[in-house]
Subunit: 425 residues, 2 copies
């Protein structure tokens, strides 16, 4: 069986290394050797002498490599939308199975890839695109087949989880923790994709599509990043027995699906609460299976390459068995609910005048929008006071309207923060 490798960066090099080191095992598991037919790179002259492959294999002509008759499987690890989309589409249409780690492309245009796979009768595997090495997509796609997934809630971005874990452990603010993450290599020079939640939103779209067997794109995902999370939010969460995490949440009910990424407070007893540092974890509620959680390294060349190889073996065995490809998960066409209709609980922190009657005024605004308060804490700070309200469940629209009116109250100086509270029963 011959494969074409597109890209030879951090992940690609690890794929090459693992294919070499695990050759005997892989041959036993597949039933025949997995051979690299060629490796498409932009700079063929770069020194890659540390890789256990012949330098003859490197080429800049990806298209020619993909369309070679003897290539059975294409492994794409270059990332980004183009040229990855054209190359993958060409491969799938030509009946070559594709293994990819490209979350951005899948989240933006997964449907086009699925269509190309259908045309060519080829398989499209992408375990490495979400939560690195954690075997997560295959269980969603296969193991929970006889079940109905109701909720997927995950920590799928290691950079933001590292930053929030540091803020929680040390009491420091966002900027300081981001700086530290950058110094340690957990955050990129331009951290926007991570801290603004774009990376997590792409993964949320992929997870929701698989969990609910429908099509969700990154544009369908409501998104808030963690740049506005303050040390005060983290401290207030701790006071109520919670931690702050950047969550991706995909849920399904009779009216459709909702998919969102935002910081949220979750109880310390929740299985996701103890996921620290740069680790990832995805918590699932299914009707029959109950609560499940998958935990592991979310990124890194070797874990990602491990996921690529798992897919590669699955594809190779399927090819060898003579079975037809079965890349067709998106048969439902469920509506994506507007964020305004999403129901959850909220932590609202207000800076108010320290005078009698403030609580009554605030409470009446909540009541006017039928948002019920579960707890209220009030504490003075000079002539100013801080009032923290935690609500019962309400829609996002109700809460937004409440906040709009709170701002207008003469005794409310500022709405310091609004954060969702998740993971409680």
């Amino acid at each position: 069986m011959k494969l074409a490798l597109l890209g030879c960066g951090t992940v690609g090099s690890e794929v090459v290394r693992l294919l070499h080191e695990q050759a005997a095992d892989l041959t036993a598991r597949v039933g025949e050797p997995l051979e690299i037919a060629g490796i498409a790179v932009r700079r063929p002259d770069r020194d890659r002498s540390d890789l256990p492959v012949s330098s003859d294999l490197f080429t800049t002509d990806a298209h020619a490599l993909i369309t070679r008759d003897d290539v059975d499987v294409v492994v794409e690890v270059i990332g980004g939308i183009e040229p990855a989309r054209s190359w993958i589409t060409t491969a799938l249409r030509a009946g070559k199975d594709v293994v990819t780690a490209n979350k951005a492309l899948l989240a933006e245009d997964g449907a086009a890839l699925y269509d190309a796979a259908g045309e060519g009768g080829a398989d499209l595997y992408y375990e490495a695109s979400v939560a690195g090495a954690i075997p997560l997509l295959r269980p969603l796609r296969e193991s929970l087949h006889g079940d109905s997934v109701r909720l997927v809630m995950g920590i799928v971005n290691g950079t933001t989880n590292y930053i929030l874990s540091r803020m929680s452990d040390t009491g420091s603010g966002f900027a300081e923790s981001l700086q530290e993450a950058g110094d340690l290599g957990y955050a990129e020079a331009d951290p926007t994709a991570d801290v603004e939640g774009f990376d997590a939103a792409a993964k949320a779209a992929i997870l929701a599509s698989l969990a609910f067997h429908t099509r969700v794109t990154a544009a369908d995902v409501y998104r808030e990043g963690i740049t506005d999370v303050t040390a005060a939010d983290v401290a207030s969460a701790a006071e109520m027995g919670c931690v702050v995490k950047l969550l991706c949440i995909a849920s399904r009910d009779a009216d459709g699906v909702s998919v969102r990424v935002h910081p949220a407070m979750i109880p310390v007893r929740h299985p996701l609460a103890s996921v620290g540092g740069a680790y990832n974890a995805v918590f699932i509620q299914a009707e029959a299976a109950g609560e499940l959680m998958f935990y592991g390294a979310g990124a890194g060349g070797t874990p990602t390459a491990s996921a690529v190889l798992g897919d590669l073996v699955a594809v190779a065995r399927r090819r060898r068995s003579g079975a037809a490809a079965h890349t067709t998960s998106a048969y439902a066409d469920l509506p994506v609910r507007r964020m305004g209709d999403v129901v959850t609980r909220y932590h609202v922190s207000l800076d108010v005048d320290d005078e009698p009657g403030v609580l009554a005024a605030v409470a009446s605004v909540f009541a006017a929008h039928r948002v019920s308060m579960r707890t209220v804490r009030q504490f003075g700070r000079g002539d100013e006071a801080v009032l923290v309200a935690v609500t019962h469940t309400a829609t996002d629209a109700q809460l937004s309207a409440t906040v709009d009116d709170l701002v207008e109250l003469p005794s409310v100086r500022r709405v310091a923060s609004v954060m969702r509270v998740e993971g409680e029963t």
Copy 2:
């Protein structure tokens, strides 16, 4: 596609119910309906009118049902060795795929089942046999294909985890916590299989076989239950920042595999430490993927039925695709290491005379067997003292010899407990 169901107890009834409730979804996922051809039961006259199937489907003649020409897949949920083994073997030899939840049979005689599957060209799936609904065996079997699993460490028995969690939360002893587990339905009238570790040992054999692609039977598994775990052990664990869990541990090194089930102290920061109540979780270390953990409900009719249905869909899709069966995981033949060679750390608690020189005498016994002590705590209790030693790594044989000699010391009244310490780096 037609299936024969063997058994209609807690799990079987749930399988019937889910097949009915999820019929539309299952048909979409498989590509054709999954139809129940018959249900083999011991007492056909029992009232099963609450189940959504015709009473004509029930039969006492399992053999005739299995060998019917129109039956494609056999689902076995009766448990136990016989007649399950004969029926499964008959089905596999006849080329019918089998889905089973039977951990006892797989652990005792999995090899015979694999052989029968090979003869008949049939598939054998058994996700439901370990850790209930947690999709765990398929990731081990498929997702980590391009990787090398080094360690599998799991909490795979809900009854004992409930008991140990209660002992830890309340400070109560084993007997009291067992009583409470029984009252709440978490322990059976005869709890031997759970509290003595037999259930966990069967699951350990299945996990080790899959993780290391070799054959391990229940008889290969070193086993200790939790009946000797005392409130003092749990308290001493807490003092050193640990909790006590019944662990199944399967590890692989250059010399072979070792598989064991015993109570152990693990640090509270370990991902397995926070797995409470009757939940199950399995922690895996793989060379490329790094650390992974799978968490979920370990037992119960509905979760187990969910796992059965996941397997059923996988088998049905494979059949429909025309692909050959590929039940052949056990291609390696790795030696199982003797327990005496297993290396770990130990918590040793001694009742000693409260007099000078005791520590020196004890330390010299450890030193004589080249077991290095990491920490020692000593505290008086009347004329008696308690001495708690935690060692660096040593083999089981070294530690056993040390304990044998400690008992002979005049100043040592009793070796109160010896417990392994796991999960530290």
